[in-house]
Symmetry: C2
Subunit: 320 residues, 2 copies
């Protein structure tokens, strides 16, 4: 089993995922070549998952593969862009064919679900590390972090605080495959595993709100930290209302604010467009829940039981 | 010093490298957004450099940064594509501001030299790993590995076998910066360091030959192994002539054939277009040296002192 055998295994599993109507040349050459429709711009992001930093190394490789793709696609959702193609670099300690095939199955499943072609990759020997570069299409209008305006309503697309519990309770991290997890209901004790390993990039909602929202970000580090990014980029502040923050039924306000990995969107929407926005989201099967307002004072406050406190950006920082 | 301080350091060093006329949104958001000119396709590649697998971890970070960008740009050269933008994911064990700044200087220098914008990135904690995703522009015609035809002349763009000597002689791996190395002449004992850390992606030559050559690859794994990729993809074989292979003046035929990291191009060119090809390469300040011919018999032979032997694809394989 050498490098090229592993690559053949991966390509066999990818199958049609490596192709696409806009893909002129898929994996196997020095570069892939893709066509970009006239009038479209390309939104691009790169994101790394390091073993035992961003996921437990002992997790099922299928789940690791799915998660690696999904968290990257979530960056496209935050721009209101539509997935087009991705490239994946996998560094792994040894040529483990079984592991690699399961990993590829997870990657392929997520790509297929969100119509993203996987057009190229790289395989290297070293400590387990997965880096994905995703590329989506958008028009001249796209969502960014920097457009939030005082008076905007801050909304999130779903309940927060479940995903992080997958890591807080190691007993939950037992081996499980995608089919075990994908139908788990919020009341299930293992639901955090579903949220952590199978995040749902809010691509349809992001795209539906691209002309409506003033700003957006995906919630990878927690609402407090990610909203801070939006506020800093926009030169504004925010006031969150603790009572309207949707919290996973077994979670707490603290995990909803401070813990990450939920991959819901947080959007800043002009007050007069809220009704349109909710309808547009619902049309895509999505939800939109107001959690606060943008203020000009550049701090983030939390209204809680009648009092107001300033909250620090407590998100996960990799080097702290 | 946390993640965001490091990112600020890097962005300050990148300066104008993070911008570009086609860059609608640079680093700092969920995605970068770039415009693609009408009629152009995007050539994309991803490549990882793992510490102590693809470079000595103790090397000067400036050299590591330059090399990481240059070897990726070389993939664009092999397609005849023109650099447009790149994304870089850096995983490093600790928040070392000095290291990171020097690394960013090397990256920026290479990007500036080859007019590639660095529009996005990712910073994570973990074992040192650098993954770059590069994106270039090409027309409907681009070079690939699969177009070689029997009778084509196989050419390389420069002398082979020096770069790998940088690793064979550990005494040569002392700390050195870009300015120390970039002017070293082939006769200098430290020349392999220049070739290894500051490879010169043959972008101008690749682009000049995009309508002339039938196939191309960049020489990362050594002539024997990389030519094997071209032959397999094209369903052909090759006959190399040992006497015409350009070897670095202190190198051997063995290192020219079997060792990698030279990042010259290997092109398959129709015999009747060789004169045109040489002129087109020279116009770009480049060279083109015939080293053999493509044959229909799917093996690679070496003509050496009157006899012919089959050579195995001896390139470096990561998991062997």
């Amino acid at each position: 089993m050498d490098e090229f055998d592993l690559i053949d295994d991966i390509l066999a599993i990818l199958g049609d995922v490596a192709t696409g109507t806009q893909v002129l040349l898929g994996p196997g050459d020095d570069c892939a070549v893709t066509r970009v429709p006239v009038g479209k711009a390309v939104a691009s992001s790169i994101d790394t998952l390091v073993a035992d930093v961003h996921f437990p190394a002992r997790a099922a490789p299928e789940l690791i593969g799915y998660r690696a793709m999904a968290v990257n696609l979530s960056d496209l959702a935050a721009m209101g862009a539509e997935p087009a193609y991705a490239l994946l670099a996998l560094t792994l300690p040894e040529a483990d064919s079984g592991w690699t095939k399961q990993f590829a199955l997870g990657v392929a499943r997520c790509c297929r679900e969100y119509s993203c072609s996987l057009v190229g990759g790289n395989l290297a020997r070293g400590p387990l590390n997965i880096t994905v570069s995703v590329h989506g299409l958008c028009g001249n209008h796209f969502l960014s972090r920097s457009g939030a305006q005082p008076g905007d309503v801050i909304c999130v697309t779903g309940p927060l605080g479940a995903a992080s519990q997958a890591l807080e309770h190691p007993a939950l991290e037992q081996q499980a495959c995608i089919d075990d997890l994908i139908t788990l209901a919020p009341a299930d004790a293992r639901y955090p595993l579903r949220r952590y390993y199978l995040p749902e990039p809010k691509l349809a909602v992001g795209k539906a709100l691209v002309e409506i929202a003033n700003a957006a970000i995906d919630l990878s580090d927690g609402l407090a930290a990610d909203l801070t990014h939006v506020c800093r980029a926009s030169g504004v502040g925010a006031e969150l209302n603790s009572e309207s923050i949707p919290i996973w039924q077994k979670g707490t306000l603290e995990t909803a604010l401070g813990a990450g990995d939920d991959y819901e969107l947080c959007l800043s929407i002009p007050e007069e467009k809220i009704a349109d926005a909710v309808l547009a989201a619902r049309k895509q099967g999505g939800d939109l829940m107001p959690v606060g307002v943008i203020r000009s004072d550049p701090h983030i406050f939390l209204k809680r039981q009648g009092s107001i406190e300033e909250i620090p950006p407590e998100g996960y920082q990799h080097f702290r």
